[in-house]
Symmetry: C2
Subunit: 347 residues, 2 copies
């Protein structure tokens, strides 16, 4: 029962292209309670006077987002919730509730499902989330789809669109470490396949980057710190697809340019060691490596002194839109910073 | 990196057994705003004084829940939203917002994704839902996970647990037709595989049951009718896994028995024709066939006259728990009605 329709591969237009295309098919009227729909880290709708809820959904699919060979189920459960909490955090919200849809293949045991839920529970406890429902079904591969509902006072919500020229570009934590961890794990897997039964995992040299990849943290602590300090960033996004890609989103939606000083990008020493070992440029890890789940935000210069300086790093500033998105290299030159991040589609 | 853990196949304990097991792993504190968690059709939490939100998640996985050979993408989009709306309806709520997570294999084109969204949009328009976000990613098989958020005044919510002995057992629409539609489609598929290029689909003999399977409707009209009539059922569930299975849920959670008169179960003539053609008992379709998405509810006898009689059928009454769940056959005998419904796991 095929049709004579044309067949455009999704890879031809990419994930973002496809999202734009299908969005145009949605003609149903929009609720007046909806404040932010598709196109930010999460959707925002009003539930009472001055109070909004924030909702996000992310799916993790075996063989696409993770490799069960080296991802323990407990870490996977933690990560599945944490990456969704990160999207609530990226709107300056507090997570409240979560639902979990699981597709379980035959080679997942009851004990493995329990370990997954132990990890979920660990993240739920850490981030104050109540798991309120879900769905479980058979599947060919392990499929995890999590929805998190958060809340915020309406005036505290921060979108991608509020950066202004002159605002400081800030990031939390360090960048590129999750990608470095993935590199180490992939290298170990290759060795395991080559060496067979003689293989002994050697993961102790890089504990930090491996943990960053397997069990990333959502930076809810920053949201709490901003509230305590009475500070509200002007624009905010979480770094799931790499700094360069997320900065492009902020600039596009805010209508600004940006200048980033490469030398100021926070990179952990262990990340540098991994880059050295595999003979790659560590700046590539930091700019284009995904899944750090740190926060990228625009801060008014006046707010700088109101925040503890150890909670983030200033890596540049937003500029007028005609100046583009530029990277100042350690050598002093300035080059355009492409968005090219980590993409699951097409490659 | 395997472990020495024991391996209990999920099929050994079944879907409901697994849900019970993993629920015990959730130790994180529960929000005081949560009114109903895991174990009903949807979760309920308070968002403002006297106002609750209702949330549900359901995943549809290719090869488990549907066969792309005979399910048009547009119908699939409609169904993915409708079955989730049905869970909101099953709490006596009104759907408001939805998020969609899609895992797309390489053999899904942009045009097919658009057709899927056209179907989603059709259901969104019909049920008054705004699609506010989602996630799209690559996948080996087509994976669809939908979350719907609905709302209700707190005192209108109906749970599975409120049936009392003496209440009438009521169902909307007719039962077994979706299963009959599936039978027709599976039969056509078998012929297609046998006849190859010579195959011509013959779907015109059974248009109603095929549509019931491919494009089921959520019975939001009943929720609206009850509100207009000032009636609130005592217990409510949607029939996704078959009448017998859902009745067992209602009785277990309400602490009642039930007596169903087989002869009163509403069955469409086309469903009877399909059962005749395949030489099976049509009562089996109605009792154990899944995916009708009609409503099963407990009604106080006093409320019977306040509702239009063409909107539902009385098929029996709830009894004291020690009388068990019984089926009165057309011949006048009474037999225990097993829960054995449609299950994706193991059986």
């Amino acid at each position: 029962m095929t049709t004579g329709e044309s067949f455009t591969p999704v890879a031809d237009i990419g994930e973002f292209g496809l999202i734009e295309r299908v969005q145009q098919r949605l003609t149903a009227g929009t609720s007046t309670d909806l404040l932010t729909g598709i196109g930010d880290d999460a959707a925002v709708y009003r539930v009472a006077d001055g109070k909004v809820h924030i909702v996000t959904t992310d799916a993790l699919i075996e063989g696409v987002h993770f490799d069960r060979t080296f991802v323990p189920m407990r870490h996977l459960g933690f990560k599945a919730l944490a990456v969704n909490v990160s999207d609530i955090v990226a709107m300056n919200g507090t997570p409240r509730f979560a639902t979990i849809a699981l597709g379980l293949p035959h080679n997942i045991s009851v004990e493995m499902a329990e370990a997954f839920y132990d990890g979920l529970d660990e993240a739920a406890t850490l981030y104050g989330v109540t798991i309120i429902g879900g769905d479980m079904t058979a599947s060919q591969r392990l499929v995890i789809s999590v929805t998190v509902i958060g809340e915020a006072p309406e005036e505290r919500v921060v979108r991608r669109s509020g950066a202004r020229p002159g605002d400081l570009i800030c990031v939390s934590g360090d960048l590129g470490s999750s990608f470095a961890g993935l590199k180490v794990l992939l290298d170990q897997k290759k060795r395991m396949e080559r060496e067979g039964d003689a293989f002994k995992p050697a993961l102790d040299d890089f504990p930090y980057v491996i943990r960053r990849h397997l069990r990333p943290a959502a930076r809810l602590d920053l949201v709490r710190g901003w509230e305590q300090a009475g500070v509200r960033p002007n624009a905010l996004i979480d770094i799931s697809d790499g700094l360069a890609s997320e900065l492009h989103h902020l600039c596009k939606q805010s209508g600004t340019g940006a200048l980033v000083h490469a030398a100021t990008i926070p990179i952990d020493l262990e990340t540098r060691h991994v880059a050295d070992q595999v003979g790659e440029d560590v700046d590539t890890f930091a700019l284009f490596g995904g899944e750090d789940y740190e926060l990228l935000f625009a801060l008014s210069e006046d707010d700088l002194e109101r925040l503890p300086s150890d909670s983030f790093t200033v890596i540049g500033h937003f500029t007028p839109p005609d100046e583009g998105i530029q990277l100042k290299t350690p050598e002093g030159g300035t080059i355009p910073l492409d968005a090219q991040g980590y993409a699951h589609f097409g490659g």
